[in-house]
Symmetry: C2
Subunit: 214 residues, 2 copies
């Protein structure tokens, strides 16, 4: 246990918490006070930390997606579980039909089921955007669709590069959860970049230099 | 108050809560038990609901970005406040130098300050991705950068279309907070679409039909 803690740089109480919460499988008991842990435990702890940290999942949701990795569910099912788990925090209970129609027009030609969680969440966001009197949301969101396709192709390519079913399943889960955070982060960097080059082009070079000479 | 509640479809206790939390400015008092509210209050309640709902902000953060709208801060500052507020939930306290270098290579030529919240959060995500043994993260994240630029251009264009400083400031705040949710939603739709057309092309048409014939 203490070695597991050392290798993964995770405090012992945290490791115990993962065990108690069923996120981490128990070690092989070698005596009443000793258990043996192996490389799988190390990998699993790193996965848990990624999901609970940057992945933004809560413990119950992390348990769910880990169970999907450990199951023998086919990959598209794992994708479904990950999509619903690392889901957009949007109240989609009362999305109205008009908003769904707008999303369907936006996703014209997409081979997705009506219950795709993204379809419904996107409708809820467009509804909220409308409610605050934002116009031109259609042009805005069309360009978001273009970007989302680039990201989805990159996501699927990353999964394809893994070899075994378990590796692929893990990449599906990690990529879905961490991809949102990565994109949101890069969007913020891109916003500052685009804003600077548009509105203060004379300062762009100076700002670039500040970063390249630490 | 009851009319304000009716028009905005927001329960009276919720409106009172917004007042108490300083999210909504008080109405003009017309008698000890009466206050007058106007269109600005209607607009503000819709904004609060968008930020706390799909925007995913907590009350303190929503208060902060609303204060930025109401201030006379120049637009780039409002952008900064919104970026930090609607921020990526990533623990970036211990991001190591190597991860920051990777992000800087990824964002080569970007005119961003070293303390851009997205730069640091992206480093934290790449670090987490590495820790779980994912390879090829560089190709993956390069394509994310490409997509983030498309989205950032769309974001800035949407702000430019608004006329007054206050409208622009509101769009900055709403767009930053809701844009993350919109993108995450569309990414899920795009993932299902790309996955179906790649792996089950023979089912794609049937799935498309299910959505177009409600």
């Amino acid at each position: 246990m203490s070695e597991l803690s050392r290798i993964t740089e995770t405090p012992v109480p945290t490791v115990k918490y993962y065990l108690r919460e069923g996120l981490l499988p128990p070690g092989r008991r070698t005596s009443p006070n000793q258990a043996q842990y192996d490389d799988e435990h190390v990998r699993r702890i790193r996965l848990i930390r990624a999901l609970l940290g940057p992945g933004g999942l809560d413990v119950a949701t992390a348990r769910e997606v880990i169970a999907a990795i450990d199951s023998d569910l086919p990959l598209p099912h794992v994708f479904g579980v990950a999509q619903r788990a690392a889901s957009v925090r949007v109240d989609d209970r009362a999305v109205d039909a008009a908003a769904l129609e707008r999303v369907d027009a936006l996703l014209d030609g997409f081979a997705i089921h009506p219950e795709n969680p993204g379809r419904i969440a996107a409708a809820a966001v467009l509804e909220a955007f409308d409610a605050v009197g934002q116009r031109n949301a259609d042009d805005w969101s069309r360009r978001y669709v273009e970007a989302a396709l680039i990201v989805a192709e990159a996501d699927l390519d990353t999964v394809e590069r893994r070899v075994t079913r378990d590796e692929k399943a893990e990449t599906v889960v990690v990529g879905t959860a961490l991809g949102d955070a990565l994109f949101a982060a890069l969007r913020r960097a891109a916003q500052e970049h685009v804003s600077t080059t548009r509105y203060e082009p004379e300062r762009a070079d100076e700002i670039r230099r500040a970063r390249s000479t630490p």
